[in-house]
Symmetry: C2
Subunit: 303 residues, 2 copies
C-alpha cells in the first residue's frame, strides 16, 4: 500500500519562483490527503501530476494565508470540473464561514458536499479513522490557533504462510485469527500457533506534520517514532531571536525535536525567503540529527 508524500510548497509566507508557500499531498493507503493549501496549490498539483479530484481529506493547520489562501480556488476548480464526491475539511472553525461567504458571493452552490470539521485547540484529538488509517490533530505553539497532524497507517495484518497452511490442511476458520496474529484452536481442541503459520505484519508507516510552531518539547509525544517528521524551520540559529518573536522554529530546534522523538527522517520546510539555499539549515540540523534534509517544491518521500 502506498505511503507517499509530495511537497507542493516548501517556502514561508512570501511566494518566490523557487518556493511556493505551504501545501503537501499525502497518499496514505489510497487515502488522498491535502495538508495545507497556500495560494497557487491547484497549479502545483497539476505541475506534479496529482489527480486532485481524488483528494477526499483536507487538513488546514491554521488561518495564516500562506497555509490556506489556495483552498477556495481549488474547491472552485473541483466544482467547475464536475466534482460530485463529498470532501472533508479539518481546520480552525472560522474557515467554514470564510469558504461559505465566498461560495455565496460567487452565486452558485457547489455540486459536492463539504463536511467541515473544526479542529480543537485544547488537546490532541482523533479526527479521522477508517479501516486503514487514522489521523490525530494536536495544538502547536504559534501566534494564532494552529494544529499539527499525525497520519498513521493502522496496524497491518499478519501474513499467512500459505504453503504450511495448505500442507497441514487447516480450516479456513483459522484465517481471521491468524490475520490478527492470534493462535487458532479447532473444534477438536488442537492448537495451531500463529507464530508457526504467520509472518509478522509490515511496520505501519506514520507521518507527523508540524507547521507553524515554536519549539515545544511537550509535543514530542505526537511525533514519537514517526517514519517521517516534517517540522518547520523558518530560520536558522542566526535568526533565533526573530524565530522566538514570531513563534517559528530554527533548523537546530527542529533537529532537537526530531532527536527526542526518535523519528526516522526529519524534513525541514517553511524556509524563509531570506535564505538563498538550504546549506545553512541542513548543516545546523545534521549536527544534531543526521537524517535531516530541507524539502523542495516537488520533493517526494515514501516509506
Amino acid at each position: 500500500m502506498p505511503f507517499s508524500l509530495t511537497i507542493l510548497g516548501s517556502g514561508a509566507a512570501l511566494p518566490t519562483s523557487r518556493r511556493n508557500p505551504t501545501a503537501q499531498y499525502l497518499n496514505c493507503n489510497e487515502r488522498h490527503i491535502l495538508i495545507d493549501c497556500a495560494e497557487g496549490t491547484q497549479v502545483q498539483l497539476r505541475k506534479y501530476g496529482i489527480k486532485f479530484q481524488r483528494i477526499s481529506l483536507v487538513l488546514i493547520s491554521h488561518l495564516h494565508g500562506d497555509h490556506y489562501f489556495g483552498l477556495i480556488g481549488l474547491l472552485s476548480t473541483m466544482n467547475l470540473l464536475g466534482r460530485t464526491k463529498e470532501i472533508h475539511i479539518f481546520g480552525p472553525e472560522e474557515l467554514k464561514g470564510i469558504i461559505e461567504l465566498q461560495q455565496k458571493a460567487s452565486g452558485h452552490r457547489y455540486a459536492f458536499y463539504i463536511h467541515f470539521h473544526p479542529t480543537k485547540n485544547d488537546g490532541a484529538e482523533l479526527i479521522y479513522e477508517d479501516r486503514f488509517i487514522e489521523i490525530t490533530s494536536f495544538p502547536l505553539k504559534h501566534r494564532v490557533k494552529t494544529c499539527g497532524f499525525r497520519i498513521s497507517e493502522k496496524q497491518k495484518e499478519y501474513t499467512i504462510n500459505g504453503e504450511l497452511f495448505r500442507e497441514d490442511q487447516l480450516s479456513l476458520q483459522a484465517i481471521p485469527f491468524f490475520r490478527r496474529g492470534e493462535d487458532y484452536q479447532d473444534e477438536e481442541g488442537r492448537l495451531f500457533p500463529a507464530s508457526k503459520y504467520t509472518f509478522p505484519p509490515k511496520k505501519s508507516a506514520s507521518y507527523a506534520y508540524f507547521s507553524d510552531t515554536a519549539l515545544n518539547m511537550d509535543n514530542v509525544i505526537h511525533a514519537r517514532e514517526a517514519d517521517l517528521l516534517y517540522h518547520e524551520a523558518t530560520f536558522t540559529q542566526r535568526h533565533a531571536e526573530r524565530a522566538r518573536a514570531t513563534r517559528h522554529a530554527t533548523a537546530g530546534q527542529a533537529a532537537t525535536f526530531a532527536q527526542a522523538a526518535g523519528v526516522g527522517r526529519l524534513l525541514l520546510g517553511h524556509i524563509s525567503s531570506r535564505y538563498a539555499d538550504s546549506e545553512e539549515h541542513e548543516q545546523e540540523a545534521r549536527a544534531i540529527f543526521e537524517n535531516s534534509e530541507v524539502v523542495e517544491d516537488g520533493s517526494v518521500y515514501t516509506c
Copy 2:
C-alpha cells in the same frame, strides 16, 4: 506620460500553465491600477517586474473566483513587506466582508488602510477622479453583479509656443488661459489668440475593460472611441450556445462590439482552456474588426 497595460492573466476560469486567470495592470499617468486579481496574481506581478507596492487603485469586476481569489494574498504580501500607504479597492460590496473576515482570522491588522468603494449595478458612475485621470464603472451582463471599467486620461493641456510667447513679450498671466486653449486679453484690451500661441494638446488615451459579459450593445457608449478595448471572448462562434448559457461572449461578438464603438484596437481575452491556440478567435474577430488580437500573459500594450 505613460499609458501602458500589462496582461497578467489571459485565461478563463481554470488556470493552465499557459494562461493564468484574469488580472491586468495599467500604468495610467503614474496612477498604478490593478484590474481584477485572480489567484496567482502576486506571482505574475513579480514575474513581469511590476513593483506592486505602487498599486494604489484596485478594480474588481465581480466575485467569481477567477477574478479576485488572488486579492487577499496580494494584500497580505503587501502588508508583510511593510506597506503603510493606503489602497483603494472598488468592487461588489460583498468583497469588503470577505477581505475583513480573512484579515481577522489571520490575527493581525494590516499596517495600511483599505478604502472600500462598493460599485453600483444600476448604472454608470464616475468612481475615481484626480488631476490627470478618471475612472467610470458600468454594469455588464453576466450571471452575477459585474462591472466594466473605463480608465481615461483627462483632456490634456495645450502646449504654449515659448518662442513666440517670449518674442511678443506676453504677460505670464496669459499662461493659464493658453493652457486651457482660451484666448487672452490683457488690461489694455489687446487680444492674443490661443490659436497663434499654442499647439493643440495631445490626444487623451483611454482604456475600456469588459469582462465578464455577454454581448450588450447598450454598453457601446462606454467603449466609444477608446484607444484600447479589452472584451472577453471566452468562446468562438462554434460554442455560441455555451456562451449564451453562461453569459459570456464569442470573438465575433466582441469584434461586432468593437466595430460599433469605433475603438482603436480590440484585445480579446478570458479565453477558455478548451482552445489550444488563438487562431480561431483571431480569425473570427478580424473578419469583423481588423485590429483585433488575442492577448497572452505578459503582453504589454501602450498608447
